[in-house]
Structures are given as structure tokens and as C-alpha cells.
């Protein structure tokens, strides 16, 4: 009964000039033109956006969550990368 399904697309929207595109959800579409049209109709009905990106979900690659500690925890100990690690004389205002 079922035919082949339309591919899944991830939708990214820039809500206003100066901000990043942000992932808002996904949808189905046969091609990129339709994906953009559908994203406009599905995700910007309340003026949520001024620019849309769509990416076929197949092309999104993610790290394996099982490796998350190896990926991300090593940076937790490098607190010297943050400005608050350094003490400066309290008379100095702008640094």
C-alpha cells in the first residue's frame, strides 16, 4: 500500500538579521525547493523567520553519544581558557 516516503529535511531558521540560523524541526519534502516552501508554511506562520535553510537529514552527521565523555570532558579541566581564571588588580576596570 505504502509508496516510498519523501525524504526527511532538517529546518534552520534565522529569526532576525544578526542572529544565527537555529534548528527548529523537520519535515518531509520531495526536493529542496519544496522543502523550503514547506518550511515557510510550517515553521514561519507567526513571523518566526526571515531566512530558511533546509538540509536533507541524511547529510547530518553526529558524534556517537557513547564517546561524549571523551569528546567533551577534556575541555572541562582547562579552566585557564576562561577569563575568570585570571585575577587582575581590582583598580583595573576594563580588561
Amino acid at each position: 500500500m505504502s509508496t516510498k516516503e519523501w525524504p526527511l529535511w532538517e529546518v534552520f531558521i534565522r529569526s532576525k538579521q544578526g542572529l544565527n540560523h537555529k534548528h527548529v524541526g523537520s519535515l518531509r519534502a520531495a526536493d529542496s525547493t519544496m522543502a523550503l516552501d514547506n518550511a515557510r508554511d510550517v515553521y514561519t506562520r507567526r513571523s518566526e523567520g526571515i531566512s530558511i535553510w533546509v538540509v536533507e537529514s541524511n547529510y547530518v552527521h553526529a558524534n556517537d553519544p557513547a564517546d561524549a565523555d571523551a569528546y567533551f570532558e577534556p575541555s572541562d579541566t582547562k579552566i585557564f581558557r576562561h577569563p575568570t581564571f585570571y585575577e587582575v588588580h581590582e583598580d583595573i576596570k576594563h580588561m
Partner: protein
């Protein structure tokens, strides 16, 4: 050894939940958690889509153009909400087409309220006020659900849905304050929708075997009975304010509990409707099946066209 590992993973999983860390699609999760979510989220998605039908039935007959536009926008939102929820369900590996086939074969359920007919224009008001009102009670709690994509979809849905209940109440207020014929329409709609709306929260807690596990997993945050009571407490004064009478002779404010007492629900009716014997079950599923079947050549054409163009580009 394997058993130990799984137990260990489950323990870690439960710890995360207890610490209010959201579960994301690729994270390890117990099979039962995944299955429970797929069932609940797809039911929720189906409810949005089937729920379009009773209201859509009145779009072409709306009494004025402003109401027509509002109702169109509202029913359209429901299509959007269904889509957000199907998408969230897809993150668990349940693809939309297969999920929808389960609805059409009768394997998957949807909220039984949509098996009741929308008989008059006032029903559009009652659906917005009571049905969306009941749904919002549930959905606000779900915004804190442990599964990230579901919680995020619910946040978006709640934001959009806040206008639905208001437009329903405003619509009924206009009728309740209008001509006698209009007031009668409003009261009749409340009479028919009150009990089915209360049933939307599901069986009593002691009859709801899966609730405890869902609460532990923080898929559910409040029990069926708690949500139902909250809804009644909030809604009864709204009915009184516009001069409509809630159709329950035993409804009474209880000073001691700080809640309304009400007549026990007729669960026979609930189970009959859930199991396919409501006034509109067949009609609703048939309509959805027909839309899918009649749209098949369109979906095939779009796919064929996309492939042709891709070939042209690479040629």
C-alpha cells in the same frame, strides 16, 4: 555479564532522569521507554490530525469571514502540531508513514473526544474552550517531559495553542450573550462536550497501570486524576461567568479539599468509544485513509520529478 551491563545502563539512565537531564535521540534508553514514547507521541500526533476533522467540517459554514479565517488558522495549527509530533516521533526511529499506517489499520489510537460529532457552530466554541483547554492542561505538563524532542515540540505547541482556547471561549461568550437561539446552541454544546472532555484525561489513576512507570521516567508529570481535577477547578467558574450550566447535578465546591466534587465518569462509554464504537470512529479514520490514498499519485509524482531533475543536474 550482559544482564549486568543493561542494569548498569538503566541505572545511569534513571539517574539522568532524576537529575532532570533530558534524554536526546541518540542516547541509550531502555526499550520500554522508547516504546512507551513512540506509543504516546504517535497517539498525540494522530489526535492532532484526526482532531482537524470535526472542526474543518465547519470552516465552509462559519457565520462570518473573521470567524472563518480564525478557524482556518486554528485547524491549520493542528496540522502543524501533528507534523511537529510526527517529526519528534521519527527521532525514535518510527517513520511517519508507518506510524500513520498504524492509525489507518486501527492499531494505533487517538484521543477519543474526536469520535464525537461537531453538530453546530457552538461546538466549535466548545471544542476550543473544553477540548483544547483539557489538552493544554496535559501539554503544559509535557513541556517538562524527559525526552528532549517531545518536550521541545510541546513548548512550541503550547505557545501556538494559547490562542485556541481563548477563541473558543470568546466564541461561546458571544453566543451566551446573544439571542436565545444562540444561547441554546451554546448550552447544548456544553452539555454534549463536558463529559467527553473529562474523559480526555484517561482512566482513573487506580485503573491506569502504566502511569507509575511513566511518572518515574518523567514522561508524565501529573496523574490523570490530578490533571482532570485541575481542569474542572479551572473550567467551572468560566462556565458560570458566561451563564452556562455544567451538566452535572453533583458538581459542588468542596471547602475542605479546595476542589470541586463531581459525579463519577461513565467509563463504559469511554471504553466503548476507545474501542471503536463512538459516533464517528469509522468516519474519522475513513477520511484520513481516503486522504492518504487519494494523495498517493501526488506524492509519487513529486518524488519521480525530484529524481528526474537530480539526474538532469548530474548528467
Amino acid at each position: 555479564m550482559k544482564v549486568l551491563e543493561t542494569t548498569d545502563l538503566e541505572q545511569k539512565f534513571q539517574d539522568k532522569i532524576d537529575r532532570e537531564v533530558k534524554i536526546e535521540p541518540n542516547d541509550w534508553m531502555p526499550d520500554a521507554y522508547r516504546k512507551t514514547l513512540i506509543r504516546q507521541m504517535s497517539q498525540h500526533a494522530h489526535s492532532e490530525i484526526v482532531g482537524m476533522l470535526p472542526e474543518a467540517n465547519w470552516i465552509t459554514r462559519a457565520p462570518n469571514l473573521r470567524r472563518k479565517a480564525v478557524l482556518l488558522a486554528k485547524v491549520q495549527d493542528e496540522a502543524g502540531h501533528g507534523l511537529y509530533l510526527y517529526s519528534a516521533t521519527e527521532t525514535l526511529g518510527a517513520d511517519r508513514e508507518a506510524t500513520i499506517d498504524d492509525l489507518h489499520s486501527g492499531k494505533a489510537k487517538y484521543s477519543s473526544i474526536f469520535n464525537y460529532p461537531a453538530l453546530s457552530w457552538a461546538d466549535i466554541g466548545a471544542i476550543g474552550w473544553l477540548v483544547d483547554g483539557a489538552a493544554i492542561m496535559n501539554q503544559v505538563a509535557l513541556c517538562r517531559c524527559s525526552y528532549g524532542p517531545y518536550a521541545r515540540a510541546m513548548v512550541k505547541i503550547c505557545k501556538e495553542e494559547s490562542f485556541h482556547q481563548r477563541q473558543g471561549y470568546e466564541l461561546l461568550t458571544t453566543l451566551a450573550q446573544g439571542a436565545p437561539e444562540q444561547k441554546e446552541l451554546a448550552q447544548d454544546a456544553l452539555n454534549r462536550f463536558w463529559w467527553p472532555a473529562l474523559m480526555m484525561f484517561g482512566p482513573n489513576d487506580d485503573e491506569s497501570p502504566n502511569s507509575a512507570q511513566s511518572m518515574r521516567w518523567k514522561i508524565k508529570r501529573l496523574t490523570n486524576d490530578e490533571l482532570r481535577q485541575n481542569f474542572i477547578d479551572a473550567t467551572v467558574p468560566q462556565a458560570e461567568l458566561i451563564g452556562l450550566k455544567v451538566p452535572d447535578e453533583n458538581l459542588k465546591w468542596n471547602e475542605e479539599t479546595g476542589h470541586y466534587d463531581f459525579t463519577p465518569i461513565n467509563w463504559d462509554e469511554f471504553w466503548q468509544v476507545v474501542n471503536g464504537n463512538g459516533p464517528c470512529n469509522k468516519q474519522r479514520v475513513d477520511a484520513r485513509r481516503k486522504a492518504k490514498e487519494e494523495g498517493m499519485w501526488v506524492r509519487e509524482a513529486a518524488l519521480a520529478f525530484a529524481e528526474k531533475r537530480k539526474k538532469k543536474l548530474t548528467a
